[in-house]
């Protein structure tokens, strides 16, 4: 099943991180694609853009944001959207993604991906904003399922997987399925990740994320540190098989090892998403 948006399967990519800039530009390693953190290249006219221009000229790039704040009850930030669109045009990014979350309210930014209450009010609020953003960008927005550590007690709530599926339908948007986030939230909230996957409209999934996490016993933090655990790889294999093939990306954001080690970890995905689509 190809995604309904006609967006390509780029293969197995890596999150672009500053510690790897020099190696990438000088050695030009064979990498299918890079995902950039949009905000790292916004509100700057300097060095970050110079690195990015060199890398985007050589590799396919996808943009992944953390400050769209699509769920916030503050107005959409038009200046932010304008800069986001300009960056998309500059890098020729294949698509733009962000998270189902809010990052702040009353004009302040926590720089965290804060959880939504999964209510009817929130669903319609976010769907309207996603449509507005898509109109502005002139392209589908891919929304990522977040990792969360709390759930709201709001009356009339629904499971996250139901919220995501209904949101995608109502907003007609794409999805970025982070299987590590599914795993983390399943542990933190006590649900079965297979129930989550069963509800995902895979024809809307244009990309998947994997990452390492930190297990504290009582809860798991989506720290993007260390190798991906086998349970998450197996979840990726399951999800990828359901999707019929989609772009996969490794995020590694803390104690980042050499480029070679990071890339080798990303390429482990191929063991789980082989042509058979099955898990070893």
């Amino acid at each position: 099943m190809a995604n309904r948006f006609g967006l390509p399967d780029l293969g197995v990519g890596l999150g672009l991180r500053t510690v790897h800039y020099t190696h990438i530009v000088e050695a030009q390693p064979e990498v299918d694609w890079f995902e950039i953190l949009s905000e790292n290249y916004m509100q700057t006219a300097g060095r970050p853009l110079e690195w990015l221009d060199a890398i985007a000229a050589r590799y396919p790039v996808v943009m992944h944001g953390v400050s769209l704040s699509i769920g916030s009850t503050d107005p959409l930030d038009r200046a932010y959207l304008t800069e986001l669109r300009a960056l998309r045009d500059r890098t020729k990014a294949r698509w733009v993604s962000d998270h189902l979350c809010w990052t702040g309210v009353s004009g302040k930014n926590t720089h965290d991906l804060l959880p939504m209450p999964y209510t009817e009010e929130a669903l319609h609020h976010v769907a309207a904003r996603v449509r507005a953003v898509q109109d502005f960008l002139g392209a589908p927005l891919a929304l990522e399922n977040p990792s969360t550590y709390v759930e709201f007690a709001t009356v009339g709530g629904m499971p996250e997987w139901e919220f995501m599926a209904r949101l995608a339908e109502e907003a007609d948007c794409a999805l970025l399925l982070d299987v590590n986030n599914v795993f983390v939230s399943a542990y933190n909230h006590g649900f079965d990740p297979r129930d989550y996957l069963a509800a995902v409209p895979f024809d809307r999934v244009v990309q998947m994320h994997v990452a390492g996490h930190t297990h504290h016993g009582t809860h798991i933090i989506d720290s993007h540190i260390g190798p991906v655990v086998d349970d998450v790889w197996r979840l990726l294999g399951d999800a990828w098989q359901r999707s019929g093939g989609t772009s996969v990306l490794l995020e590694w954001d803390a104690e980042i090892p050499s480029f070679e080690v990071t890339h080798a970890e990303a390429l482990r995905a191929k063991e789980f998403i082989g042509p058979s689509g099955g898990c070893p």
Binding site: E50, K108, N109, T119, A153
Partner: protein, 248 residues
């Protein structure tokens, strides 16, 4: 009356950023399999401050050395309380740090913030000594240089750059006493440089950066040998401090 999304967000953000109304967690949030509502909320509260402290430590690594880990952490938490972020990213978040410091630490913070600023300023190809020859002779007295945007000229009350360099070189220098100093911070290509300036160098360079006429600027070297002034000038040109010359 049902709780609105706006109400939930105002409460949650207040709890995370300032610790306001934490006792409402039991009513607004559910317990998880292993943690209660308040413990689950604390995951976000810890993350909020640690993320911003990490950002400030990235911008001010030498100030952190000068103060020590504990005092630097306390300074950052006071900073976060006074200056919540209002921008989509953290590129300019640390800009108020000199205001939060005094004496030597304020000068060191100015130096480190200048480094951040030149990283984010655009850089252009530097002008060359040869391009000076293109200035028509009759316009020479009023000709002036255009400085790179990726340049900051700092006049300080403490020798902050000497301390910075000593730490970078692996030493553990004592916090210096007062002593006037000047440093130009600039970016050439992808590299940020710092260059200490003597008082006459600072006078000349400050005038050139301000767009004062070349001849008048160079005359500020006062008693310095002409060959010395020429050497400074060549070094500044080759370092990329200037991007163009404009006739008078």
């Amino acid at each position: 009356m049902p709780v609105t999304l706006r109400d939930e967000q105002l409460w949650f953000a207040g709890a995370v950023m300032t610790g306001a109304a934490l006792d409402e967690a039991d009513r607004r949030l559910t317990a998880g399999p292993r943690l209660g509502p308040r413990e689950r909320l604390d995951v976000y509260r810890r993350g909020y401050e640690s993320r911003l402290v990490e950002c400030l430590a990235d911008d001010y690594p030498i100030l952190k050395v000068a103060l020590g880990d504990g005092p630097f952490d306390s300074l950052c938490r006071a900073y976060i309380a006074r200056f919540p972020s209002v921008a989509p990213n953290l590129n300019a978040y640390g800009r108020h740090m000199p205001e939060m410091c005094g004496g030597f630490e304020a000068d060191l913070a100015r130096l480190e913030w200048a480094i951040v600023e030149v990283i984010h300023e655009p850089s252009r190809a530097p002008m060359t000594m040869e391009s000076l020859a293109t200035v028509p002779e009759e316009t020479w007295p009023g000709a002036h240089l255009v400085a790179s945007q990726a340049l900051r000229l700092l006049t300080l009350e403490y020798p902050a750059n000497d301390y910075f360099q000593a730490v970078r070189d692996g030493h553990a220098p004592a916090i210096p006493g007062p002593g006037a100093s000047a440093t130009v911070v600039y970016r050439s290509g992808l590299t940020v440089w710092r260059m200490g300036l003597t008082p006459p160098m600072r006078r000349v360079l400050a005038a050139l950066v301000a767009g004062e006429p070349l001849e008048a600027s160079l005359s500020l070297a006062e008693g310095e040998p002409p060959e010395q002034v020429t050497a400074w000038f060549r070094e500044w040109m080759s370092s990329g401090l200037f991007v163009a010359v404009e006739p008078g």
